[in-house]
């Protein structure tokens, strides 16, 4: 049967999943709320990790270092937003440009490709791994979720959502969509950097490459969550995104246990996203066909009788 190694791996994945869930919430804000596919994420995740690591290893309080990381992420997001709105550059390209820029900036921040935190005090030092960890971090993640839910219901939040939904309409009601986009992308990348900062402290190191592929992992979390847990209301979607992030980690853990090569994980992630994106459409088409066929048969009958 399954050994204790399996359960340890699952536990660890659950813990990591909670930390990555914050990043997934950030991706949700741009990808779904703003309808802005923001690739900055790959860079800003590392920015968060790097700032936290360099801060902590140079003697800053872990909380202060984490807050600095959040500010760094917000700044990166703001730049992407400005490149898009002021430079009139397409959203995808704006994100890619910022991501590339961040690769250099992150190395400048960190000074070297990898910073170890093993003997440093972090936010998690006094927190025992396992049940306590999951309870505390789980609560933190839920608080963040509720704050985002609340924010999206404020006047600014409504304007943000309408920007992604119908930009022409919200402009006609006096909202400068350039500003809402910048705010949204900043908020998103602040969350992503927070996630990066926490993951670095959890794993005991920050690595220059840790953000690579992060956007796809974020998308996978959003899409898996929505597909399984639904998206009727905002509170429900954000919860689904959290669960999606955790579930994604668990799927990876199972794959690793089944001895999938760890270098193949990114391929697996891409396949999961493609699958999750196409499945609802295929299911919808099949349902549509079935309904059409049924109606056609019914109408033929009526025609035959009349």
């Amino acid at each position: 049967m399954l050994g204790s190694g399996f359960w340890t791996a699952m536990y660890k994945s659950f813990e990591l999943g909670l930390l990555y869930a914050i990043m997934a919430l950030g991706v949700y804000v741009t990808f779904r709320v703003l309808d802005f596919p923001d690739l900055t994420v790959d860079g800003s995740f590392t920015t968060g990790a790097g700032i936290a690591a360099i801060g902590i290893s140079s003697g800053l309080h872990p909380l202060a270092a984490t807050l600095l990381a959040v500010a760094g992420g917000a700044l990166a997001g703001m730049m992407t937003g400005l490149i898009h709105t002021k430079g009139k550059i397409n959203p995808l390209l704006s994100g890619i440009l910022m991501m590339i820029a961040l690769h250099s900036i992150n190395l400048r921040i960190m000074g070297k490709p990898n910073i170890g935190l093993l003997n440093q005090e972090t936010l998690f030092t006094s927190l025992e791994k396992g049940f306590m960890f999951i309870a505390v971090v789980g609560a933190l993640v839920l608080v963040i979720k509720f704050i985002i839910d609340g924010f999206l219901k404020t006047d600014i939040g409504l304007a943000l959502r309408a920007t992604g939904d119908n930009a022409r309409m919200i402009r006609s009601f006096g909202v400068k969509t350039d500003s809402t986009i910048v705010v949204g992308v900043s908020l998103s990348n602040a969350l992503v950097a927070l996630s990066g900062a926490l993951v670095a402290q959890y794993q005991g190191y920050a690595d220059l490459q840790s953000g690579v592929g992060m956007i796809v992992i974020g998308l996978a979390s959003v899409i898996i969550g929505e597909a399984i847990f639904g998206k009727r209301t905002i509170a429900r979607v954000t919860f689904a995104v959290l669960l999606g992030a955790v579930l994604y980690r668990l799927i990876l853990a199972v794959a690793l246990q089944m001895e999938v090569d760890s270098t193949d994980l990114k391929l697996l992630t891409a396949l999961i996203v493609i699958f999750a994106l196409t499945l609802p459409r295929i299911r919808g088409n099949m349902k549509q066909k079935a309904v059409s066929r049924k109606r056609a048969v019914e109408m033929m009958k009526v025609g035959g009788e009349g």
Binding site: F151, L158, N166, R171, S172, F173
Partner: protein, 265 residues
């Protein structure tokens, strides 16, 4: 209320597609005036609307609303004076947001938006009353997503959103053209009632001559970027579709040849 002076607009300047969309337009609207604009394709009606709302800016000339010069004011800033309904029923509402959230957005038109909740408890009651005035049962569906409504319902909601905060100027851009006749009639009736009730200064573009004659107290005909006919309240009361067609032919020396102009019904 609205002053347009010597406004001209050229599209694609310097290219083979260069086109003088508006040529020395002068138009003054008094407070409470309801003006219908009619004209064939390319007459410049939509361009005029876009210049007034700030989607486009004039190449020469000036525009002011009330006493405020708005010629170079961006669209979002100008919106505090202007309520607008578009031709496309999908354009005026945010589909993935609920009816009450859409109304909450409209309620803050042109005001500062902060971090207080968009839909407050007190708002709901007021939203419900406002929706009830439309008489199409939307008052029981505050939590329904706007995207689930039919085209007619969405356009009625758009009309309410554009008018219930009593804008200084209401712009209606062929807002019944994309609806079936029954729905168009509903929106036309609602428009007539709402404008009358709030005494809104209104500018309505239409392709429907009968509608242009029936609604409002002044009628303007545009052609090739110019205002060619301006009929006041007195004359407009006696106006018929035939007379209007005759006037057009007299001025232009040509038949009104445009499939999109609907003569009646």
């Amino acid at each position: 209320m609205l002053h347009i002076e010597q406004v001209s607009k050229v599209f694609n300047p310097g290219s083979p597609d260069e086109k003088l969309a508006l040529s020395h337009i002068n138009l003054q609207l008094r407070a409470g005036e309801f003006v219908t604009i009619i004209g064939s394709n390319g007459a410049g009606k939509s361009t005029l609307m876009n210049l007034i709302s700030g989607v486009l800016f004039p190449d020469i000339g000036s525009i002011s609303i009330g006493n405020q010069a708005v010629t170079s004011m961006p669209e979002h800033a100008r919106s505090r004076f202007i309520g607008r309904v578009f031709q496309d029923p999908m354009a005026g509402t945010a589909p993935s947001m609920t009816i009450e959230e859409n109304l909450a957005i409209a309620k803050r038109r042109g005001k500062r938006r902060g971090l207080s909740f968009g839909v407050k408890r007190a708002d709901r009651k007021w939203f419900k009353e406002q929706l009830a005035t439309l008489g199409i049962g939307l008052d029981d569906r505050l939590q329904a997503k706007a995207g689930l409504l039919s085209g007619g319902e969405r356009q009625a909601l758009s009309l309410l959103m554009a008018t219930f905060m009593k804008p200084k100027l209401l712009l209606l851009d062929e807002h019944t053209a994309a609806l079936d006749p029954a729905r168009a009639e509903l929106i036309t009736t609602l428009t007539e009632r709402i404008v009358q009730e709030h005494q809104l200064t209104t500018l309505m573009v239409t392709h429907n001559m009968e509608q242009a004659i029936r609604l409002g107290n002044r009628l303007i005909m545009m052609d090739k970027g110019r205002i060619i006919l301006d009929i006041g309240a007195e004359q407009k009361r006696k106006l018929t579709v035939d007379k209007l067609l005759y006037e057009f032919e007299r001025i232009r020396g040509a038949k009104l040849a445009d499939d999109r102009v609907v003569l009646g019904g």
